[in-house]
Every structure is written in C-alpha cells, then in structure tokens.
Symmetry: C2
Subunit: 218 residues, 2 copies
C-alpha cells in the first residue's frame, strides 16, 4: 500500500511538481479518501521525504551505473560520461531534480534520513578521482587557490570521501561538483535561456573543462 501511494505520488510530482502535490488528489487516483492515506503516512511532509529519498536513490544508482560502466576508461572521459548521465536523469524528470536540488519545501526541514542517499551521487563521482589517483593518472591542478582555513577543513573531508589527494585537487572536486549541478540547475530553472542556445553542448564542454580542472587524464 505504501508502495502504491508512493508510486502515484511520484507520478503526480513528475507531472506537476512537488509543491503542487495534493494528498487528496493522490487518494482520488487510488480510489480512496484522503484521510485513508494518514494510516500510511503521518502527513504530507513524510510523503515528500519518502519521495526525496526515492529520487536520491534513483539518481545515485543511475550515476553509479555510469561510473561503473566506464571502468578502465580515461578518467576525464569517465567524468564526462557520469556528468552526462546525471544530466540525462535530470532532464528526463525535471520535477524530481527540482525536488532534490531546488528550493526546499517551505516549512519543511529535510530529516537526516535523506542525508545518506543524498551523498550517493557525490560519492560515485568522487570514485572517478579516487581511481585516477590510484592509477597515478592525476595531475595536480594549477588554477585552484586553497587558503589555510579551507586546507584545515579538508583534513576531515579527505577522510569522509576517502580520497587521498592534494588540497588543490580536493578543492577542484568541490568546484566541479558545484559547477556541474549549478549549470544543470540554471538550465532546468531557465536561467541560461538568455545566454545559452544549446544547453547540451555547453554542458559537455563544461564537463570536459571540469575534468581538466581536476587534473583527470584524458
């Protein structure tokens, strides 16, 4: 039953966005009455939380597949493929992407349950760098500027992500990460429409540049 509710709620989100998700509409679709849903979900927020986790896992798995499928490829190419996979996932289900990376739902604080699934994508991306580092195919980036304070916080982050790379590389990873999702968010939310004609093309160039910025071998 929970699964059925989640499924129709998911398709509602896919169609109209999470903010427009209505418990009553979901219930109607299931041939039930809205109050019946409260037996399975304490409230609308919990339904949304479940949907968020579902979406994070979907995106995470999708990314992991792309990363795994390119094992042995040049690191730069792996990064580009992974980036394209993420973009593909996002553009085919923009509302789910907005649910994850858009404005947090008002009055809603994402509980800690969403944290672990949320880091899955990032960890998959980091694996590319880790593999490249293990194979000694990682050039130290030149353009990054790591301050002392940032370097300090990197001690913890290096352990958290399990990548034994230089501070400059770690910063480059963070920047590529925000770059990737920043560009995607801009595209999906319409910010690029005034400046960019072909988003797909720009995205690929951007991904290539990120790979170079991190020092991934081509």
């Amino acid at each position: 039953m929970r699964a059925a509710i989640l499924a129709t709620a998911g398709s509602h989100v896919a169609e109209h966005g999470a903010a427009a998700l209505s418990l009553r509409a979901v219930a109607r679709d299931l041939g039930m009455v809205s109050s019946a849903l409260y037996r399975y979900f304490p409230g609308r927020d919990d339904l949304i939380t479940a949907l968020i986790i579902q979406a994070y896992d979907s995106l995470g798995a999708h990314t992991e597949v792309a990363v795994d499928a390119t094992l042995g490829f040049p690191a730069a190419q792996r990064w580009v493929e992974a980036a394209l996979a993420i973009r593909e996932w996002a553009t085919t289900q923009p509302h789910a992407y907005a649910l994850l990376y858009g404005t947090p739902v008002p009055g809603y604080a994402a509980p800690d349950d969403t944290v672990a699934p949320g880091t899955r994508v990032s960890r998959a991306l980091v694996r590319i760098v880790r593999d490249a580092s293990a194979d000694d195919l990682l050039e130290p980036p030149s353009a990054t500027m790591v301050s002392d304070g940032t370097a300090e916080s990197f001690v913890w982050l290096r352990g958290e992500l399990d990548v034994d790379v230089a501070d400059e590389t770690l910063l480059a990873i963070l920047l590529a990460w925000t770059q990737l999702f920043g560009l995607l968010t801009f595209e999906l939310f319409g910010q690029t429409r005034n400046f960019v004609h072909d988003d797909a093309l720009l995205f690929r160039d951007a991904a290539e540049t990120m790979a170079a910025g991190m020092g991934l071998a081509r």
Copy 2:
C-alpha cells in the same frame, strides 16, 4: 497602494518564503480584505512577478555597486569582491534568493518582464572581464575546452554581452557564472552541509579560483 502591498508582501516572503505567500495574510496586515488586493494585482502570480523583479533589481544594484567601487583594482580582486557582495546579499535574504534562483513557482511561468532585470547581475560581472580585457590584463585560460558548436553560439553571445574576448575566456565566464551561483545555491539549500564546514571560506577560495580560471590578473 501597489507599493504598500509590495512592501508587506516582500516582508512576508523574507520571513516565510515565496511559496507560503498568502494574499489574505498580506491583506490582513494592511487592514484590508483579500478581495481588495485584486484591484491592484490581477492575481497571486502577478504579485510574485513584481516581487521577482524587485529582488532582481535589488541584487543587480547591489552587485553594480560592488563592481563600481573596485574600479581600478586588480581584476581578480574585483571579481572576488563582487562575488562576496552577491553572497552577502543572498545570505542576508535567503528567501529572496530562493525566489530568483530556486525552483520556479509551480504553474508559474516567469514572464518576459523579469528577463531584463535578471541579467543585470550577470552584466555587472561581465563588466569586470571587459575592463580587464580593455586594459589588456586578461590571460587566455588554458583549462577550458570549447567545442565547435559552442564556439558558434558564442558569436551571438559575444555581441549580447559586449565582450570581445576569446572563446576560451567566454566559456570560462559562463562556467564561473554558474559556479558562483551553483555554490551559493548549494550552500543556501543545504547541499553543502554534509561536506563543507565553513561555507564562507570555501566561497572565497572558489571565487579566487574562478578569477584565475578566467585569466583575470591579480
């Protein structure tokens, strides 16, 4: 009257976010009845549009001040200052930032009125590069990868932004632009909380790196 409505609506957004903006609540604050507001705004969407334009103009002006105030400074420093100004604006009014760069309000399509004010920030940032280019203080970036297709679309963009720079620089500008707002969005929407301890510090390092990536002289 329109101004009074906009003012209290703006403070409501600042407090609870745009999605939670209620016409009735705004009317209550003004000692009126909700239906009275419809004399001044055709509907909720139009009120939001007005607020968006207001916010874009506020952020645009704020950025322009920062860019103008650093005239004559090294280009890299100007960029960092402008970036910090944008971050300051965003962190002091996160809901307004979310209104501009977050998930578009469901069922709401931003009308063309918002386009011009929306590009103000970007144009202010571009001015830094244009000035550097005019003073011949712009090194061609090495890390960017411009494909043929992207290069083609840059012909138009170069005219639109009025910057006569190399393709590689133009791409670097676009990337820095999305990088800047991508990082900010991640910070404000809570995506960095699992990886980053000090967002302000990272942001500064990121801004420095962007400046280097665009070839801005230090």
